[in-house]
């Protein structure tokens, strides 16, 4: 929670709201990379892409 608050404060301070969608997409994509490292999620990724 504290992380999200800090991140929101950071984006407000930097006024780089255009980064938000990119951040969400890249976080999801990056998160998948993390999850697929030897995990059970791996097979589903191939069907997604």
């Amino acid at each position: 929670m504290s992380f999200l608050k800090d991140m929101a404060a950071f984006m407000l301070a930097r006024k780089k709201f255009w980064l938000l969608p990119a951040l969400v997409l890249m976080t999801i994509f990056g998160g998948l990379i993390v999850l697929t490292k030897g995990s059970v999620v791996a097979p589903f990724i191939y069907t997604l892409f």
């Binding site: 504290s2 992380f3 800090d6 991140m7 950071f10 930097r14 780089k16 980064l19 990119a22 951040l23 890249m26 976080t27 994509f29 990056g30 998160g31 990379i33 993390v34 490292k37």
Partner: protein, 610 residues
Amino acid sequence: MLVLGLSAFYHDSAAAIVRDGEIVAAAQEERFTRKKHDANFPTNALHYCVQEAGASFADIDFVTFYEKPFLKFERLLETYLAFAPRGFGSFRMAMPLWLKEKLFQKSLLIDLLCAEAPDVDWEKKLRFTEHHESHAASAFYPSPFDEAAILTLDGVGEWATTTMGVGSGNQLSLNAEIHFPHSLGLLYSAFTYYTGFKVNSGEYKVMGLAPYGEPRYAQAILDKLIDIQPDGSFRMNMDYFDYCTGLTMTNEKFDALFGGRPRKPEELLTQREMDLAASIQAVTEEIVLRLTRALAAKTGQKNLCLAGGVALNCVANGKVLRDGKFDEIWVQPAAGDAGGAVGAALATYYLASGSARPNRGKDSMRGSYLGPSYSDEDVAARLRAIGACFEMLDEETLVQRTSEALAEAQAVGWFQGRMEFGPRALGARSILGDARSPTMQKMLNLKVKYRESFRPFAPAVLRERVADWFELDRDSPYMLLVANVTPERRRTMTEDERKLWGIDQLNVVRSDIPAVTHVDYSARIQTVHADTNPKFHALLAAFQARTACPVLVNTSFNVRGEPIVCTPEDAFRCFMGTDIDVLAIGNCLLRKTDQDPALKQNYEHAFELD
């Protein structure tokens, strides 16, 4: 007010502690863990600093981390977006680390601090400074100046790679920046990689190699790689570099420009690498000179403070000094990221307290002797425990015996007082030798340090005699200025010697102190001062009394790839694993011939090569 500064998670993690604006202690984690450039959270250094301050964790008012993780993440994301879809490989490597750990650095830091002291409210005490603000603070606040221009140059922090500003009293303002990917530090590192050395540690080797070559590629660099403006600001042509998107510094286009693939580590060095080194060194000096000239004109300041990894380029520093645009320059001895810990702590102290900065007339780094020390009793107990054979002497006798060994061209391990903070050994954890010996450089490189034979050694000289031996008339206590040996100390070379090229120049005796005279007559000078290191000063004075020479070879007490020794045990291991003849730890004197041969170690391959 007690402020702890931390630098970690990239390379050279360190801790520093500041009490009421005074730097009490600072140390790099690698010295304790014995892992070169250790980037892990500096638990050992942190404990040492708190202990040295005679404080408990609860006494700490603020903890400051030396950079801002969110800003760094922003730079990473924007870079990947700008270059997408190129860079996917790098993105795939970087994201797991960021999403698992680096993005949550604040929580990670709090967790790690809580592991040391769970009862302290670390969240309330934790602060962050920007990377280059930490460098700038480490350059200005400990400097001897009330007012000065500030220049920081390194690879990259968050966005900034170069910053310029002014420090005055307790205020520091940075008002010009050059942003990633345009970076002098990364340009130099690209050539470090291309010439077959390790990025972030081999830059020194490139600088040492440069005088063997001719800058025949300098024009190609200026034409194709970088556009430099008259004020020193620059833009790089990223078509030739791979570091934004790939996993190497340079790409095929760079290879084509310089006529071949990068040299592989440990491959034979050729004239081409020497010429490349000379070329990037010349371009670096040109950029630094343009920047400092513009800074002098813009700020009207008479003094200059430097920090950031590029400020360790002492050849460029010497040129800035001789350029005369500033009356005095002061370089933070821990100019790399480790020094960010000192800067972060000092920046927070002056911001939080608003206290005036005392006018000392000299710098507050205490000779950079900010690390652990050991009493003679402690040293003796430790040496006995590991089976070492030693004599305990009084200080005067130890100094005399050591100077005698040095005059007989023996290699001496010199372990005295508090360990240095920063990459240079300054006479607290040093290996010393006779600078007059024509064979000393080769012997120390090959049999003691186990490193490349081309690498030069630095002289330590009595401050009061520096101008008699070198073209330098001021303090250089941190080995961060390069100047030439005076013409009267140089030796006239024969016609045959003059014709030698490249590495063949190495064995030519060029001066009365050949072991510390580089092929271009330059030397990376350390002036030794009675007030900051009286014992080392006394040793040089004793050596001078014997030999009429106040100069010794001073190199770090380690072998290639090993962090500089920290404890008496580290020193003894290194002593027994190399051809060091004599070891002085405090007032304990050890001779190799007295030691049990069974304690000898195979040390040559004990550390990963740097």
